[in-house]
Subunit: 323 residues, 2 copies
């Protein structure tokens, strides 16, 4: 092929891309409604025009940007970490929920819900410096694989959502993660994986302190709860970190309900999106009865409130990025 | 003057501006060192080159971006607010520190230090929604004047620092405020005054909750301490909000010491700047003995650590912007 033809191909493909910012989305009314919203709020002179600084978009992470079954990926990390640290903690053999983790009984380990998970997170992170923590997560991500798909966890991100993030940013939106997951856990991979810098990641956190270790300043994590960024905590996290109400929000569970409610109750044009897990074959199918990512109230309320519910099976051409 | 000449003037002035990004700074070694730092970290191919996402610059607010004498401007606001709310709080007449404020005895009111100020801040803000709070601050800023200068408080910002912020942003730095002041107090004016959006303002905070009032979602401030963003709290605030170590930091007091220490102890090129209040005529002169903005340890340590100490009297051509 000649260089001229190659050049033309490149131009054509960039035109196609410009015409379709969401190529992994099927051409359904869901996709149309997203594009229509973005166009009207970014078209200067439009009555719905939103100035650039107010173009804030917030996304849940677990189940919205990457998978969350059969349990939150951060729980896999915490369990791996407990196993790695067990030799230094002989007392864990007789102490729940650690004992169940070490026996491989994950169901019992998780029976205590988020509280038990948090206790394990604090026990495995306390005393670690921010640099040590970063390295441990980075190593874990590079060496661990999902039990069902055999993929690295950060390969189990949703291609259609990556396109949506990029599309919004191309229209001068600032994209944020607002998740119940650990803020510093997500920050390790959010920039590389989603193009979202650490300062735009909001999550649950434990406290930290500043100290000198051998004369060198470090930030050290301490085993004290700081903030739970879930349910009614999400609008509060948005308020404390962003200080401005989003105009676009996406989630996938009842834990995101208040974020979507807060977002859509502002004046002017607003967009709320629920990702509905309907594809047992390509990913997972769950909603009202699920222990992880339960979507019940949200499914009832979304149609009444004009929120868009994306049906992963029907609305998405692909789920995970090609490798 | 003809249009051609006018056009030439515009071009010339933009060339001059390009040549001197800091026109309100005298041509001293301090200014040179700032420009040299910014040029080396932003010049592609330079061994000191810093990629755009890592160009994080943090600035203290009180005494660094705007004045802080004879007391923090937020304290003036809190005192005004106590007077306004006094009719609804008859018990304040007999309760310190409120009683002293109502008697106009500001010295006694402030005798309890930051703790007393915080108690007053919480008492005057609790139960307020984020929208109400925003409006109250906006109205106060528009109607209040500084007792010495008769200027609006947000006119008492430092022109040379405004230029520094704009210069850094023109080189793709992301500029943040990291201040002991109230995070939501500063967010009301930071965007308009400094070009710093709310999501890049970090400060002290009280807690907040999300609730429905008459079916309408609101964020309500509650009288419980959340975080004090001062001294060793500043690197922690940076960690929790930004998640990345700055390469440039500016402050003016010992309360900024840890932020400058944390910033400069990272690898690669770093810049730390102290604003030293030396100009009693054009602003205020204070350092080692001051109750507000005490700069003592910092003055001793700065030369040993290679931090730049800006002498307001000698290094700045102007202090406040022309009106």
């Amino acid at each position: 092929m000649s260089a001229v033809v190659l050049g033309l191909t490149a131009i054509t493909s960039s035109l196609v891309h410009a015409a379709d910012p969401l190529p992994s989305w099927n051409d359904t009314p869901k996709k149309e409604s997203i594009v229509a919203f973005v166009e009207k709020v970014t078209k200067s002179g439009s009555t719905d025009f939103v100035p650039v600084p107010e173009r804030i978009a917030t996304f849940d992470n677990d189940g919205c940007l990457w998978s969350e079954q059969p349990m939150y990926f951060q729980a896999f990390y915490i369990f791996d970490r407990i196993k790695a640290l067990a030799p230094q903690h002989p007392e864990w053999k007789d102490k729940e929920p650690f004992a169940s983790v070490l026996k491989g009984d994950l169901k019992s380990a998780l029976a205590g819900g988020e509280h038990a998970l948090l206790e394990m997170a604090m026990a495995t992170h306390a005393g670690m410096s921010s640099e040590e923590f970063d390295k441990v997560i980075r190593d874990w991500l590079a060496t661990s694989k999902h039990p069902k798909t055999d993929l690295r966890y950060n390969q189990m991100v949703y291609q259609p959502m990556l396109e949506l993030l990029a599309y919004l940013r191309s229209k001068d939106f600032k994209t944020f993660i607002v998740s119940g997951g650990g803020i510093d856990f997500m920050r390790v991979f959010a920039e590389e994986t989603y193009g979202i810098p650490p300062e735009q990641v909001i999550g649950s956190s434990i406290k930290a302190k500043y100290e000198l270790r051998d004369g060198k300043p470090v930030i050290v994590k301490i085993p004290e709860l700081d903030f739970i960024d879930d349910k009614a905590g999400k609008p509060v996290g948005i308020y404390q970190h962003i200080g401005r109400r989003p105009i676009f929000a996406a989630g996938n569970s009842d834990g995101d309900f208040e974020m979507l409610e807060w977002t859509t109750s502002g004046e002017g044009p607003r967009f709320a999106l629920y990702v509905h897990h309907t594809d047992a074959e390509r990913e997972f199918a769950y909603d009202r009865e699920s222990h992880i990512g339960k979507l019940d109230k949200g499914l009832d309320e979304a149609p009444k409130r004009g929120w868009t519910v994306v049906d992963m099976k029907a609305d998405w051409k692909t789920i995970f990025p090609d490798r």
